[in-house]
């Protein structure tokens, strides 16, 4: 695998070398003037486009990339200064550096430069290939033919361009910025535009694994990581199993009006999540309606007696006690997630091969055995990949945790409190509050990188199997 990659990289540069070495004067001229090779082969429009590209790139380099990249090493040195003139009520501002914009623009510049280098190398190779084509006396496409090819054998390029631009803009560049910020001291003490921030190397990564009296990130990271994984496993399996059971229960021949029952459950999830979750949070508040009912029917006192609720409390701390909150969150997530899973399970169960079940029944298997031996394996086979996707999504289940605990849950663990974490936080909600409430961008970025690595690892495990196996074509 590794060797294959190295080989292809080797080939990539070798082809470039060959093109430069064996190319004629036009190919060599293309090293400086990118359009040269095309114009020599009468592909005038292509030549003009490449020339324009080169010109635009040069202007970009001089006007945009160079000034930003020049400051990339320090992320700026000129502090914001302002002088207010009380006589005219105006203020003058110096030509200050904004570290974040320098960082952002530098990353965009670097990205463009890398893209350009790839284009540049490809250009030389293409020009060389044109030369060969001509030498062999074969046909060279004119511009119209090139365009036509874009809707035929090169159709994938046409289709992917727009999505790629979007993804670069909204996914790739932000992730690159996030990674870069993890190596800076960008936090509330160093917030542009009024202050500058700069590179600090691996310091933040060290903090994440440090556990001292003043830095408790190590402790919090460990605790939250464990809860995140616990939660992801619990949330995924409870809803998955719950969904299958509910689907089987409703689809059972003995159940009357299955459609009606299904619709009832669907109503519960059709209401937007943020509405239901915020509602449920108030529903289970310490002085909320559920607590009033529990107190009236004596449940609160009963729980007090058996020690599940601290004796001095007059309410059940559904969402305010760490243990209660964790259980409640999982239960509420079942409430939110089971109907979805039921829908999917219903769809899959309908496709289950009837003959297998029949023959098993003839062999004397009871319904539990059928469920365990036939239904479940089939379900797992079909929904396995979706299950892993759900697992990763639960690792990042921001909505459920944030909406249920924000402004309600207060941590009672001082070590967690010192790094602005809570027992019920997932990595993703911790990170969100670090950025949103404490402006600790540097630590949030480090955590973000770890979240990304964890998710990528789980995703890779599932999908390389399915993608690599190339089962795609078998089924047609």
């Amino acid at each position: 695998m590794m060797k294959k990659i190295l080989n292809s990289i080797g080939n990539y540069f070798k082809e470039f070398g060959t093109a430069v070495a064996k190319g004629d004067i036009w190919v060599k001229l293309s090293l400086i003037w990118m359009g040269a090779g095309y114009i020599a082969r009468k592909q005038i429009i292509n030549g003009i486009i490449m020339t324009l590209l080169e010109a635009v790139f040069t202007i970009m380099c001089v006007g945009y990339a160079a000034p930003n990249l020049a400051k990339f090493g320090t992320l700026g040195t000129v502090q914001f200064e302002q002088v207010f003139d009380p006589l005219t009520l105006t203020s003058t501002v110096n030509d200050y550096d904004n570290s974040f914009l320098i960082l952002l623009n530098s990353i965009i510049s670097l990205f463009l430069i890398v893209v350009f280098v790839i284009v540049y190398i490809a250009n030389v190779k293409t020009v060389y290939r044109l030369q060969q084509t001509k030498e062999n006396g074969r046909h060279i496409n004119n511009f119209r033919e090139d365009i036509r090819a874009l809707f035929n054998e090169k159709f994938h390029i046409t289709l992917l361009t727009l999505p790629c631009i979007g993804v670069v803009l909204m996914n790739i560049l932000p992730i690159l910025v996030l990674i870069a910020v993890a190596f800076t001291n960008y936090d509330q003490q160093h917030m542009p535009p009024s202050a500058l921030f700069t590179w600090v190397g691996f310091k933040n990564f060290k903090s994440l694994f440090t556990n001292s009296t003043t830095i408790t990130f190590g402790y919090s990271f460990g605790k939250i990581l464990i809860w995140t994984l616990e939660w992801a496993v619990l949330a995924t399996f409870t809803t998955y199993i719950g969904g299958i059971l509910l689907a089987k229960f409703i689809n059972n021949k003995a159940t009357k009006w299955p459609k009606f029952w299904r619709t009832l459950f669907i109503i519960a999830i059709a209401v937007p999540q943020f509405v239901t979750l915020l509602l449920v949070r108030n529903f289970f508040a310490d002085s909320g309606i559920v607590n009033t009912i529990c107190a009236n029917i004596g449940l609160t006192d009963f729980l007090k007696k058996i020690g599940l609720v601290a004796s001095h409390l007059t309410y059940i701390p559904f969402l305010t006690d760490p243990n209660w909150a964790k259980i409640m969150i999982v239960l509420i997530n079942i409430w939110v997630g089971v109907p979805y899973q039921m829908l999917i399970a219903t769809g899959v169960l309908m496709n289950i091969p009837e003959d297998q079940i029949e023959s098993a029944r003839i062999d004397g298997a009871n319904s539990f055995q059928i469920f365990a031996k036939i239904t479940m394996p089939y379900m797992l086979f079909v929904t396995g990949p979706a299950l892993i996707t759900d697992f990763v999504k639960n690792i990042n289940n921001f909505n459920v945790i944030y909406l249920l605990t924000q402004d309600v849950f207060v941590t009672s663990d001082q070590m967690l409190a010192n790094s602005n974490a809570k027992e019920v936080d997932l990595l993703v909600t911790w990170l969100f509050r670090l950025t949103n409430e404490y402006y600790n961008y540097k630590m949030a970025s480090v955590i973000g990188i770890f979240v990304f690595i964890i998710c990528a690892a789980f995703t890779l495990i599932t999908f390389t199997r399915t993608i690599k196996g190339d089962k795609e074509d078998q089924f047609r």
Partner: protein
């Protein structure tokens, strides 16, 4: 006899479950008709009933409640989001499913991983990128945030397209159709269910997001907001006691169209996800 007991028992259990699932929804609906503006903590059903909350929503906007403006904003954003997202998803799905080119699998793995990356992690960078494009506090910016990365969510649509038989495309190709024509004239018409699914699911995104909306529409002008931020804002500490029942009414109103769409969508959702998983 035993059979009848089991029959009754089965339906009692179902009823019980259904009640558990519906209690919060019922609470939402009844509270939206409450005459008391705050959270009713002593009684499940409101003690005074009134239509005031709905009247405030639609007829008497105040500094907190700009429901009509929010609804229009969200609707516009949602319409554009769903058009752009659907186009992007279909483009990527078709490429990945029906075309064969160098680096396809690598690209697929890469985008699947990228898609797993939650937007929350990099929202500050997204904000500043939009700001340098001059798109903060604009609905265009919101549309870009919701739809630009949509291409990554191609997996379900791809799974569906994988089920479209190759021979159809082969036949068309033999008749001299270009790949673009095959895309338009054969694959797209056959993908209706998955198009409906993609349209609806991307349409629903702006209705439920409050994180990005809050970050990007940060001028504080409440008439620029979307429904989600507007409703979220009503539960602010200083407002919740005067606006909780209006929040519920607002929740009910957004839920109605969304529920309808959701019910339509769920059929295709199941088809898409199961079809996609069998193949992928």
């Amino acid at each position: 006899m035993k059979k009848q007991v089991r029959f009754v028992l089965r339906h009692v259990v179902l009823l019980l479950l259904a009640v558990i699932w519906l209690v919060p929804i019922v609470w939402l609906v009844v509270t939206s008709f409450s005459g008391y503006k705050g959270i009713n903590t002593a009684h499940f059903f409101p003690q005074t009933w009134s239509l005031d909350n709905y009247i405030t929503l639609f007829l008497k906007p105040d500094s907190v409640v700009q429901y009509q403006a929010w609804f229009t904003n969200t609707l516009v954003i949602a319409i554009f989001t769903c058009i752009i997202s659907t186009v992007l998803v279909l483009m990527v799905a078709y490429t990945m499913s029906c075309l064969r080119f160098k680096g396809r699998k690598g690209l697929m793995s890469f985008s699947i991983i990228l898609n797993m990356f939650p937007g929350v992690l990099s929202m500050i960078a997204v904000y500043f990128i939009l700001k340098s494009l001059g798109l903060t506090n604009s609905h265009v910016g919101m549309i870009i945030v919701y739809s630009a990365g949509a291409g990554l969510g191609f997996l379900i649509a791809k799974g569906f397209m994988d089920t479209i038989s190759v021979s159809l495309r082969e036949a068309a190709r033999l008749e001299g159709a270009s790949e673009a024509q095959i895309f338009w004239k054969i694959v797209i018409p056959l993908s209706k269910p998955i198009i409906v699914y993609t349209v609806i699911s991307s349409f629903l995104v702006p209705w439920g997001d409050f994180v990005f909306a809050k970050l990007i529409l940060n001028s504080g002008i409440s008439s620029d907001w979307t429904v989600a931020i507007g409703l979220y804002n009503m539960l602010n500490k200083s407002l919740i006691n005067k606006y909780f029942s209006i929040f519920c009414a607002g929740g009910v109103v957004v839920s109605i169209p969304i529920s309808i769409l959701f019910v339509i969508m769920q059929k295709f959702y199941v088809e898409g996800i199961t079809g996609g998983s069998v193949k992928g």
